[in-house]
Symmetry: C2
Subunit: 348 residues, 2 copies
Amino acid sequence: MTPIAALTNHQVRLARRPVGMPTPQDWSFTAEPVVEPSEGGILLRTLALSLDPAMRGWMNEGKSYIAPVAIGEVMRAGGIGEVIASKNPQFAIGTLVSAGVGVQEYALIEAGQAQRFGLHPIDTRLGSPSQWLNVLGMPGMTAYFGLMDVGQPKAGETVVVSGAAGAVGQTVGQLAKIKGCRVVGIAGGPAKCEWVVRELGFDACIDYKAGDVKAGLKQHCQKGVDVYFDNVGGAILDDVLARIGRGARIVICGAISQYNNTAPVQGPRNYLSLLVNRARMEGIVVFDYADRFPVAVKEMAGYLKDGRMKSREDVMAGGVSAFAQALTKLFTGENFGKLILQVAQGPG
Amino acid sequence: MTPIAALTNHQVRLARRPVGMPTPQDWSFTAEPVVEPSEGGILLRTLALSLDPAMRGWMNEGKSYIAPVAIGEVMRAGGIGEVIASKNPQFAIGTLVSAGVGVQEYALIEAGQAQRFGLHPIDTRLGSPSQWLNVLGMPGMTAYFGLMDVGQPKAGETVVVSGAAGAVGQTVGQLAKIKGCRVVGIAGGPAKCEWVVRELGFDACIDYKAGDVKAGLKQHCQKGVDVYFDNVGGAILDDVLARIGRGARIVICGAISQYNNTAPVQGPRNYLSLLVNRARMEGIVVFDYADRFPVAVKEMAGYLKDGRMKSREDVMAGGVSAFAQALTKLFTGENFGKLILQVAQGPG
């Protein structure tokens, strides 16, 4: 095994704030020597990185739910790592963990930084490392608390979810089915639509690339939409607003259609449908529910085990140098399932 | 006294659906003989009519929380009437009532129609007939349930209300003060702003006609906005969205800035602030709370009596033939306080 001091950490740093769709020029690539952790610290080898729509927001200047990534800083990213050096008795060498490792090959987490990094060991009996970045990770937790706490679906209600084949959407739809709802997905292209219906058991899926979302909603949500879990914003949000039922709940989880716009965000023109229908629209930030992640993980792992919950990951090879390419794939919707960038091979 | 059969009922009917701001050509004027009520019915002489922003929506075709006024139908309006003929022992001649009388001088409410007309006697010991169209009527009930049930203000929180000198806004702000909140109004012109601060006790008021609402919000809501009661929509809603605090509640009561637009509604571009701040935006329709009106009326009448709640009505003369003019006054924001059209002199 290569000694720590002989290892090099390749990193991707934010070189400038992107305007519109991020380009390769927005990133700089650095290489640093890897150092041993101090007392209480651990050193991780990054195995896989999570690619998330929220990343686009972190690249922007300005107040948000989390500080922006600074220019010159290693790009923020969640991932799975393997402990390869440890001066912390709680983390033996070889332990697999989930943490905000950043887009780099090695991450040093010193004493007292565990919480800031969201560091926790993962139990591969509950799910594979990829599933720990998907159903059992941030996307799954976002789906769980966004749907259950904000959306509050009741059995028999109609739940619509956009980005239905994406990381959050696939779990939202399956969870809503488990809770006894009718579920209608919105996704791009026949392959994704067919997958969420045939494999995941959604009641229907509207292909927004094929055209008329409004007509699809009319056909599949004849009694109106009770819960809309929105990952995309833009025109689709307006189409759903025009179709909500009385007392509907709209969960604002994201707006991927708007993140790379250089024009101002398209506000929902049909927002007065909230008034007419006594409905509400409410934002969700998953970090608020961190205290309850263990309970939700346990419930979701149960569904994975008994086959009621499936997951699909789209794992890209290429390591950290493929990060810019992976991000483009995410924002053009070319990924099919949770997008993960493989950085190194894990143990076993 | 003139016998019933000799009376003429002058009425204002919707002649066509307005495009943009309603014009006199949108109305037709009819005169019908007044008839005696049948068994169980009553005949009302209209004393005063309530002019409400919601009227604009009732003139449009299409699904809303209430059926549109049909072409050729007497325009819908709430008002105060005096019972001048009665074949219903519950309503003696001379009784003052609140009801959906419509824009006409006399209204016949036959047996079984009381609920449809929202008919109920008013107790002038609790408030004047004008106050029964304001604080104790629909605007007051909208303010009460919109603020308390949807906005859920807590003592010490900052409440912002637009249309602050209007019928709903004046009551929202005063009620929020009574409940221990800091209250910032938004209104048009120095006279209205001065009135809500000096007379009604708001902590501050931003004059949107003087310009920079954003700067005013920054100055007066340094810790962010906890509850925003929106009567206007448009750019002001966006300015407030940019200033909300974590867990804020936005009550969507109306959007008077948008009602007469011929362009599509301006959707709130800053709606993703709901996500960042885990905030919600929710619609209110006052009719949903009808069961609880008596309790709210009692509470509000108490505040009127002990002087903690003031009310201002802007009473126009001219009878039903001045209706189109009154509506223009409402939609250009020239009214100062709850706009009421006087149709006849009441008893005493």
